[in-house]
Symmetry: C2
Subunit: 349 residues, 2 copies
């Protein structure tokens, strides 16, 4: 565990608000993790204006002016064309590549960040396809769910590798020694087309990987129960599961709002029960678990939600802090090296 | 629109409770739709015992004794081996095939029902892969989502065909003349592996199908908003989306319960707001929208949830009633025939 300074590279131009959101977010994170230091990339004038009110943050930050910001609606190919080398996003990634910073945090556009991160940092030795991992609130706490959109259609080896990546993240972020891992599957048995999920399950079962405990298949409704610490799936279904859960949460909040507003009695009841609802809202607050992580690259990259505020951005920064402090990258490298030696995977091709 | 008698074939042995749940469910459905009549398949003694308390139902039912019931945990291949010709499930399907009944309703095991239905009824002319469609509650009402688990990995033509099947169901069940149709996709653009989704979108856009209005791609969080009437996706992701939404709803109900129980004040507030919560629960009641539908077979098959009660089973029976009354099968046949004449699809192979 690193106890010294943790230096992060920040793309201050990402998100809907840019530096006016990101810089106060760094100030919040710094009060919680005083060992943080920052390399901030973006429009120098805007960053300096925002940082003027936070002298302690200013004292622990280097500001680097960049001319180009990647628009939130740019396609990955456009982003690479316009932003390679010159954008705040790229330079923040390069700061990690060069070893100045230990992780990049950006609230920028996901597709662009993914493309640039792959291009700039490249996949780790033994990882063919890096994955995007999300932290998912459950009845019991939080689980890691991956892949949530970086890869469509993965093979057996990808799924096993992603299980190891997710388990390493669970250890680093939640301190769980031997995380329980499940493969997302559907209940309808004997449907053709799931060979890679079944084969990955077989390898995880017989491979005896020291860093995880394989629990078998889980279904969509098991994620929220928190019966496993890590849920592994392919990127298309993972992204749809994540978005569907977010949509359902908003839908139920809307139902609740509509029900409460209908009678005076219900409104009085609501006022009395308000602290309870506040706790409920608090539990569902997406800002508290803001941040998806690109795993399996030569460098840590954390994606903050683009529409978040300073507290959400601070959560993403703290997530980066925790992962660096717990040597996530080194742990992943060890796990992946051990994996490539297992004969089960060699047979899977 | 058929105004006369609607005769349904009922597998009374499906579900966790068998005839003691299914028969009272039929009685409930009959009070709401008096033009219903039933061919009931299963253990004659059990059915007669359950039906004795419902003379009006008995008067409109023929009971057929079967020796074999398909267990809820049987694999599809086992179910076919043990239940072909002789089981209540098979005979209910055969009653539709022979023209005695217009639709089958079963609360039995999904995989077994799917396998038997395909084997007994076969796919309609022009439909390579029948789909399982679910009714999904939204902020605006209800949407049809398909496929939710019958097929893994579909091609362009399957997706377009499923869009037509879903649109026909939306018209028959909800009376929407030109349903809005969306293809489920993920927000991360330019990720490889989604060619069939993009190609299906192109065909739906340029094909000018009279029975639907194509609205483009939707994401997981759009389903609950009800921005389209029909959401089309491949079976693996569709099943995961459905189960994830169910799981999230249960998770939030549990959060609410935990929040409410913590203080006296919150409990008093809860009592006052109780009618509001009752409305909320009512809106979320899975029994009211019970029933997934196999579309694209030579006969209608409705799957009721196995763990439901008589009111849930009645909802599934009423769904069957509505679909028969609105000539769903004939509409689908017309749409699919029109589809096979479009040149866009011919090119897609």
């Amino acid at each position: 565990m690193t106890t010294g300074e943790i230096r992060l590279a920040i793309d201050a131009m990402g998100g809907d608000e840019g530096p006016s959101m990101a810089v106060p977010g760094l100030a919040v994170a710094l009060t919680r993790c005083p060992n943080l230091a920052f390399e901030i990339f973006g429009d120098k004038a805007e960053i300096e204006k925002a940082i003027a009110r936070h002298p302690e943050l200013a004292a622990r930050s280097n500001i680097h002016h960049t001319e180009v910001s990647i628009p939130m609606d740019a396609k990955p190919s456009q982003a690479l064309r316009m932003g390679r080398r010159v954008s705040s996003m790229w330079q923040a990634l390069e700061s990690v590549k060069g070893g100045t910073a230990s992780a990049t945090v950006s609230a920028g556009n996901t597709g662009a960040l993914m493309a640039m991160a792959k291009f700039c940092l490249r996949g780790m030795e033994g990882v063919d396809r890096p994955a995007l991992a999300a932290i998912w609130p459950t009845i019991r706490g939080e689980s890691v769910v991956l892949d949530v959109g970086a890869n469509i259609g993965v093979d057996t080896k990808n799924l096993v590798t992603h299980a190891l990546l997710g388990a390493a993240m669970s250890r680093a972020v939640f301190g769980i020694d031997t995380p329980k891992v499940g493969l997302l599957n559907i209940g309808v048995e004997e449907v053709k087309g799931l060979e890679e999920v079944r084969d990955a399950g077989q390898i995880l079962k017989t491979g005896n990987f020291p860093g995880l405990r394989y629990e078998g298949f889980v279904e969509g409704d098991d994620i929220g129960k928190g019966i496993v610490d890590v849920v592994v799936t392919e990127g298309f279904s993972g992204n749809i599961a994540l978005k569907t859960a977010e949509g359902t949460a908003r839908q139920l909040a809307e139902y609740l709002r509509m029900s409460i507003g209908r009678t005076l009695r219900a409104r009085i009841g609501y006022v009395l029960a308000k602290p309870a609802f506040a706790r409920l809202r608090d539990k569902m607050d997406p800002r508290k678990i803001n941040g998806a992580v690109f795993l399996g690259l030569n460098g840590l990259v954390i994606k903050s939600h683009g529409g978040t505020d300073e507290y959400g951005f601070a959560s993403a920064v703290e997530l980066a802090h925790d992962m660096v402090r717990n040597d996530l990258q080194a742990r992943i490298a060890l796990d992946v090296a051990a994996l490539t030696e297992t004969k089960e995977l060699a047979n899977a091709g």
